[in-house]
Structure formats: structure tokens, C-alpha cells
């Protein structure tokens, strides 16, 4: 039993803003104040701990709705980039395993650095179903945090087949089966139709063009998946990486996608990459369309987004959007990995460097911030860098500082390309995020969008995932405060004390959804599976032996 006293609580979900209150923790949960007898008995058993937080900032543990942290892509990124690790070494310490860091850190170091930053839940953004077992293997070595993964489904053979056949039942059953057998948490859709087209050596633009083997448009795929996702009652809405991502002028595709899905719940991820305007007159052809996108978000109550904020410096781009990585390779000349996964998806990896002085990179940076500042309701917009695509997750505290301090933004702008002002109005935006708003975009909002009722708040019954930051004495200190919380509690156990990790590995939970489905589906797909996959369906499901600590998040 732990009593946290004298903390200043920011818990937006429970409408607590800077409230000084006790928090009581028992086992893994937050509880109401126990009775005097209970407290007495805990004291007698030596299991009572009281921590005086001395008016420090208390928030729920951070929740990252979209990052690449485990599985085949990030791991290939690790192999690809020995140069990324060489100067960022983490020695073993006590019970903590060693590793390396930088943009593609090892699994242990990923767990450490999230924890040290006060984050306790992270969603792996994209897993190829056939390699899901690999993700769960890594989850077993990803300490402290709770995690789950979104399974790629926008270019899946059976998905396309059932949509083509207009067989809604089979589609739903298949998706539910897929989530179950891969141990996934939700559905991820990446460039629907476009990845299959890439494998066929074709290119699709927008959401109307047809062209792949199944002769389906992205429109048809998106609609069917959004509908199935809602009908399955999955905790998290369909998680979409839009078509045409990264191309100038793509904001129109994004808007068509939002119009198309206006009646469904949806989460558009790293929307910064989908908010680009096209100006044929301009030499760089590239302008911000943050206004149009923000307006859309402001008027859609079934929509949430995360940003994918650009951070200057080295990144390792990686996505299931194979053709996007080909394009990035052609653009940068950097080393390029592509892996097509049979029947399911594609993927690619290209290292890049976002430069402060580069005008296009600067505009991308500004678009992300414009969106943060122009989307009115913080419950609709979440902090991500699409780690490690737009920047490493370790940059979050500096992004928080950009959001909370206009002065800091102006200082950054002064170090950037002098024509930046011609392409974005970021310098004029006066809005500064409050601590409450920061709490929303970094924990309460993402938790709600993920459908994690026990996370993102510190009300009674919530998971005891709590972060304690030093008091914010001045705006200059924002980044330092958010980078180095003093205390982090995960599932009721202190994992960070005095800003340092306790030297004992703990394993967090794997979060999964287990939607119901008609068991007959495995027979329906059986014949094609046998003919066109290279493994048998019997060897496909991820067995329970890969889950040490599982939590099933209920479907509605």
C-alpha cells in the first residue's frame, strides 16, 4: 500500500487541475482511501509506504498511441544502423540489462527510456500478422511498460477478397480471427490498396483509383474496414496511415478520407505527413495545409489524430508503406530496406536527417506545430513523433516545450530557414498549451482513444501508473522537467526513483483485444491459405506461451 501525499494532481479525465490530494495505491491499482484498520494492518505487515510529493506535479503515466518499438521493422532498423548505436551505449547495471540507444534503440533501452520519461504504455504502431510472433518475443524483453500492437490489415489478401465479394460477415470474422491469432490490440491500415499496388509494380493516387488485382479502390477498403472495426466494437478505432502520405498536395486525399469516414470512429496517425499542400508556382511546390486539416478535425467528433512531429536530427524512417520508403530512398540516396510480406503487407526503412536549415524540413516541422495549435480540442490530438520516423520518442519533452512556450518556438524559428515565414504562419500563433492540455495530449487523450479505461487517469480503479515531475519553476525548464520525472510508478511499483531506474527489470503487460468470431472462418480461408501462404495455417497463430502477462481489453 502506497500513499502519495501533497502532490499537485493534473488528471483531466477526472476534471482535476492542480488539485492537492492524496493518492492511494494497493497492489496494481489506485484505490479510495483505505479504512484505518486496513492502513494499520498494512503498517504492521511492513507493506505501507508513504511518499511526500512536496507539491510536485502528478500526472497519470504517459501513453504513446503510435511508435515503432518492437518487431521486424524496428529490428531490421537496428541491424541496418550500427552507426546509430556506436556512440550511445548503455552498460548493464544491477539487474538491468545493457543495450544501445539512438533512433533505433534495443528493446531494453526502449523500455528504460520510456520509463525514465514517465511513459508507462506504448502502442507498437504496425505489425505484419505473419511476423507477429516476433513482436511478442521482443515484448518479452521490453521492460516496465505496457504495450500492444496494431495489426496491418489494409492490404491483406483476405481483407481485399472479402471486400471484393461484399462478404461483410467473412470480413468481420476474418479480422477478429486475425486479431485473436496474432495477439493484436487493434487494426492498422496503411496506404490501403497502395501497398498491394506497389507489389504489383503499380502506383495508386488518391482514394478513388482502382488498379490492383482485386480492382478495388482505397475508398472501398477504408469504408469496409472502418465499418468492420466499429461493428466488432474494438477498443480502438481503425488506425489509419493515409494514402499519398508524404506527397505534396496530399491534404486533399486526407480530407476525402475523412469525408468518406465521417460516420465512423477513426484515428488518423502522424497526420503531419498527410497535411501537405501543393503550390505549383512555388519553387519547392510545398506548403502547409494545416488550416484545412485542423478545420476538419475541429468539426469531426468521431476523429482523433496524432501528429508525428518532426524533430531535427537523425531519424530512421520505417513504415509498412513500401512505396513511400522507395520514394524516400530515391529522394535521399540513403540505404534502403524493403520487405514485402506475402498476402499481407509491405514495409520499408530509410535513414534520414531532418535539418533545421532545410526549408522543406522546416515546413514539415511547422505543419506539425500548426496542427497542435490549430486543433482546438486537445482530446483530439496526441503527441507522437511516429518514433523513429519523424524523430525519436526521447524528443517529447522538447516538443512539449515548443507547445508550452511561444518564446521557445520563436527562438527555434530564428535558427531556421529565413524563408520559412512565406510558407507557414507558425510564428504568429500565440497559443500556449497549459499543463492540463499537456496531460491530455500525452496521456489522457491517447488512453481514451485507445479505449484503455484504466489508463490515462488517476481515479479510483485506474491502473497505478503515475508520473511525478518536479515543480515547473520557469518555462526554460519545461523540457528538463518532462525529460526527467522524479518518480514513476508502474502497476503500483516504483520503477523510477530520484530520476533513476530501480535496478531490477519488471515486465509490463501485453494488451490485446479478443473480439468474437465465427470459428468457421479458418475453414473459409483454408484453401487459399494452403495454396498461397508459405506456412501452414496450423503454424500461424501465436500461442499463449508468448504471453507472460496478458490483459484482454474488452470489446464493446
Amino acid at each position: 500500500m502506497i500513499r502519495l501525499k501533497n502532490g499537485i494532481i493534473y488528471d483531466p479525465k477526472n476534471n482535476k487541475s492542480a488539485v492537492k490530494e492524496d493518492i492511494w495505491i494497493k497492489n496494481e491499482k489506485i484505490v479510495s482511501k483505505p479504512s484505518a484498520e486496513e492502513i494499520e494492518s498494512a503498517k504492521n505487515q511492513g507493506s505501507y509506504q508513504e511518499i511526500d510529493l512536496k507539491e510536485k506535479i502528478v500526472m497519470p503515466g504517459g501513453v504513446d498511441i503510435h511508435a515503432h518499438i518492437a518487431g521486424p521493422k524496428i529490428n531490421t532498423g537496428r541491424v541496418l544502423r550500427p552507426e546509430d548505436h556506436r556512440h550511445d551505449n548503455v552498460p548493464k547495471k544491477g539487474g538491468l540489462r545493457s543495450g544501445v540507444g539512438s533512433t533505433v534503440p534495443t528493446s531494453y533501452v526502449t523500455g528504460y527510456r520510456y520509463s525514465l520519461m514517465g511513459y508507462t504504455t506504448v502502442m507498437e504502431a504496425a505489425g505484419p500478422p505473419m511476423k507477429a510472433r516476433h513482436i511478442h518475443e521482443e515484448f518479452g524483453g521490453l521492460p516496465f511498460i505496457d504495450k500492444g500492437f496494431l495489426v496491418l490489415s489494409g492490404n491483406n489478401y483476405f481483407v481485399l477478397k472479402f471486400i471484393k465479394e461484399k462478404n461483410k460477415k467473412a470480413l468481420k470474422d476474418y479480422l477478429a480471427w486475425l486479431i485473436n491469432v496474432t495477439g493484436a490490440f487493434g487494426l492498422k491500415v496503411v496506404n490501403p490498396g497502395g501497398v498491394e499496388a506497389w507489389k504489383e509494380g503499380k502506383r495508386l493516387r488518391g482514394i478513388e483509383e482502382k488498379g490492383t488485382h482485386f480492382n478495388l479502390s482505397p475508398r472501398e477498403i477504408l469504408l469496409a474496414l472502418a465499418e468492420a472495426n466499429d461493428e466488432l466494437g474494438l477498443p480502438h478505432p481503425v488506425h489509419i496511415h493515409t494514402n499519398d502520405l508524404g506527397s505534396p498536395g496530399n491534404y486533399k486525399t486526407t480530407i476525402s478520407t475523412l469525408d468518406l469516414l465521417k460516420d465512423y470512429r477513426k484515428h488518423i496517425t502522424h497526420i503531419q505527413f498527410s497535411s501537405y499542400g501543393l503550390n505549383e508556382e512555388s519553387k519547392i511546390k510545398f506548403v502547409s495545409a494545416a488550416d484545412q486539416i485542423a478545420e476538419k478535425v475541429n468539426n469531426d467528433d468521431k476523429l482523433t489524430v496524432d501528429i508525428g512531429q518532426i524533430v531535427f536530427g537523425e531519424v530512421t524512417t520505417m513504415t509498412a508503406d513500401g512505396i513511400l520508403e522507395y520514394n524516400l530512398h530515391k529522394l535521399t540516396g540513403s540505404k534502403w530496406v524493403n520487405t514485402d510480406v506475402e498476402m499481407e503487407t509491405g514495409s520499408g526503412i530509410v535513414p534520414m536527417n531532418y535539418k533545421k536549415k532545410n526549408l522543406i524540413n522546416g515546413i514539415q516541422w511547422a505543419i506539425g506545430l500548426e496542427l497542435f495549435l490549430k486543433i482546438d480540442d486537445p482530446w483530439k490530438v496526441f503527441l507522437t513523433t511516429d518514433h523513429p520516423n519523424a524523430g525519436p520518442f526521447t524528443a517529447y519533452p522538447w516538443i512539449i516545450k515548443l507547445l508550452m512556450s511561444r518564446d521557445y518556438r520563436l527562438k527555434m524559428i530564428s535558427e531556421m530557414h529565413n524563408k520559412l515565414g512565406n510558407y507557414t504562419d507558425i510564428a504568429e500563433l500565440e497559443r500556449e498549451y497549459s499543463l492540463d492540455e499537456i496531460a491530455v495530449i500525452t496521456r489522457s487523450g491517447p488512453a481514451r482513444a485507445l479505449g484503455l479505461a484504466n489508463k490515462g487517469h488517476i481515479g479510483v480503479g485506474a491502473d497505478a501508473d503515475i508520473t511525478v515531475y518536479s515543480r515547473l519553476e520557469s518555462k526554460d525548464k519545461i523540457a528538463e522537467v518532462f525529460a526527467h520525472p522524479e518518480i514513476v510508478i508502474k502497476s503500483g511499483k516504483i520503477i523510477v526513483e530520484d530520476g533513476k531506474l530501480v535496478e531490477k527489470l519488471r515486465e509490463g503487460k501485453t494488451l490485446v483485444a479478443r473480439p468474437d468470431y465465427d470459428k468457421n472462418i479458418s475453414e473459409i480461408i483454408g484453401e487459399d491459405f494452403k495454396n498461397y501462404y508459405s506456412i501452414s495455417i496450423e503454424n500461424y497463430p501465436v500461442s499463449d506461451s508468448y504471453f507472460n502477462n496478458l490483459e484482454v481489453i474488452p470489446c464493446s
Binding site: 541496418l80 544502423r81 550500427p82 552507426e83 546509430d84 556506436r86
Partner: protein
């Protein structure tokens, strides 16, 4: 001039002696043997400097008899072929090794001078930023190269090898000069971005593979890759200046005949931008 003298003890903790007999030698990581460090310390502090043999930490005095005084000028005596990182990262001063050294000698150094009166291991002067390395014997692979995955190898500085060199000499080098009097292995100048490599002995196969820019000068005929073009035979005047500079400033022996005769000029690698040049000396 004051000098710090380190004399390797015959019996030192790096020996692997499973049953009393020496079977091998542990690698010793000796980045602490660097003028930047020794100049600032007293002799007793120098004696306490950490050297890592395998995974065990030892002190410098466990390996060396220490003479002289703290100095930016270090003289080392002994067969140090299992000692890695001597002079790695040094910015100034001088190390003279009377004997051989192991891998990573002078890697990432940015100034000062290292002379090895013996052989060295692989990665000599890898990713060096400046300074001068002279090896009187032979050296290993990856001289002046980039480390695994890195885009750029040595970026300024001069490496002079009087003996022979291994493979991947100057691979991915960005700037600077490498001179090899003896033979060298395969892939000299592979993927080099710029800089100059002088090969006075015979070279292995695939010299200049995938080079972007830069110059390789060879005193002997090379087996040219099909991705290079022959352009012209001439005497490139800039060579006389370059040779004079190497001779006067670094006391490098330039074969006399290379000052005359003429050179076949090839450009490539045509799978890349094709702006590299290979100059092969021909008797006049």
C-alpha cells in the same frame, strides 16, 4: 624534450596461460595511452591508468615499466600487437612505439603524430580527423576507413605505411592522404568519397570499387574494374606538387621514377557518379 617511456613487461596480465604455458594473448584496450591523458597526470597517476584486458580492469603499471616524466611525448617499447586503441582519439603530442600495435591504433585521432616501428592491426587511423601516422612495418585492413555502417572514413590527416597494407584501405575515406610503399590488398579506396591514396607497391583486386570522387595513384599496373573508363595518358602536373609536399613535409619516400614517365588515367566508378580517378604510372 621530456619523454614518458613505457616498457612492456615480458610477464604481463594479458598472457593466456591455461596450464602454465602461454597459449595466446588477451586483447588489451589502451585508449588511455594517449598524450592528451599522460601529459596532464603525474607518474604515479599514469601508473594507475586503467587498461582493459579482456573484461578485466588492470593498471598501466601491471603491463609497463614506467620511466621518464609525464609528457605529451610517449615512447613505448615492446610487442604490443594485442594492444588496441593506442593513441585513439588523441588531439596532440607524439607516440613512438618501438614494436607492433594492435587494432584501432590512432583511430579517430584529430592531431599529433604516431609512429609505429613495427606492424599494426586493422582499423589504423579509422575515421581519423587529422594528424599523422607512420608505420614502418605492415598494417592490417581498413586503414583510414569508416566504421561499420558509417558513411565517411578518415577526414583529414596523413597515413604513411612503409610496408604493406591489407584490404579495404581507405574505404569510404572523405579527405586526407594514405601512402603505402609496399603492397596492399583488395578493395583499396572502395567507396571512397574523396582524398588521395598513393600505392607504390602492387595492389590487389578491385581498387577503387564504387569510388565517388578522389584520386588513387598506383606505381604498378592494376586489374581495372569494368566500371572504369580509360581517358588519357599524360603527366599530371599536380602530382609533382603533391609528391613534393609529401616528401618535404612528411619525409615520405616517393619512388624516383614516378616523377617522370606518364600516367594512364581512368575514371569511375561508373556505377556511382564516376568522378573518381585512378592514375597508373607507366615508364616514359
Amino acid at each position: 624534450m621530456s619523454k614518458l617511456k613505457l616498457i612492456l613487461k615480458k610477464d604481463n596480465p594479458s598472457l593466456i596461460q591455461p596450464e602454465g604455458k602461454t597459449a595466446g594473448k588477451l586483447p588489451v584496450e589502451a585508449e588511455n595511452i594517449s598524450p592528451d591523458i599522460t601529459a596532464e597526470k603525474t607518474i604515479s597517476e599514469i601508473a594507475e591508468l586503467t587498461l582493459l584486458a579482456g573484461r578485466k580492469k588492470y593498471k598501466l603499471k601491471d603491463f609497463f615499466k614506467i620511466e621518464g616524466e609525464p609528457s605529451q611525448n610517449i615512447f613505448i617499447d615492446g610487442e604490443l600487437d594485442n594492444f588496441k586503441y593506442i593513441g585513439a582519439g588523441m588531439t596532440t603530442g607524439e607516440i613512438f612505439i618501438n614494436g607492433s600495435t594492435g587494432m584501432h591504433t590512432g583511430s579517430e585521432m584529430s592531431g599529433g603524430k604516431i609512429e609505429v616501428n613495427g606492424d599494426t592491426g586493422d582499423w589504423l587511423g579509422a575515421e581519423m580527423q587529422g594528424g599523422y601516422i607512420k608505420v614502418n612495418g605492415n598494417t592490417g585492413n581498413y586503414v583510414g576507413s569508416a566504421f561499420r555502417g558509417d558513411k565517411l572514413g578518415m577526414n583529414r590527416g596523413v597515413i604513411y605505411i612503409k610496408g604493406s597494407a591489407g584490404s579495404f584501405l581507405g574505404s569510404r575515406m572523405r579527405r586526407g592522404e594514405i601512402i603505402v610503399s609496399g603492397s596492399c590488398g583488395d578493395m583499396a579506396g572502395a567507396q571512397m568519397v574523396a582524398g588521395s591514396i598513393y600505392l607504390f607497391g602492387k595492389a590487389g583486386k578491385r581498387t577503387g570499387a564504387a569510388m565517388k570522387r578522389g584520386t588513387i595513384i598506383s606505381a604498378h599496373q592494376l586489374e581495372m574494374l569494368p566500371t572504369f573508363n580509360y581517358n588519357i595518358s599524360y603527366y599530371p602536373e599536380f602530382l609533382k606538387i603533391a609528391f613534393a609536399h609529401l616528401k618535404n613535409e612528411f619525409k615520405i619516400d616517393i619512388p624516383q621514377n614516378m616523377f617522370s614517365g606518364y600516367y594512364h588515367r581512368y575514371t569511375g566508378d561508373n556505377t556511382e557518379i564516376g568522378k573518381g580517378e585512378i592514375l597508373i604510372w607507366k615508364e616514359g
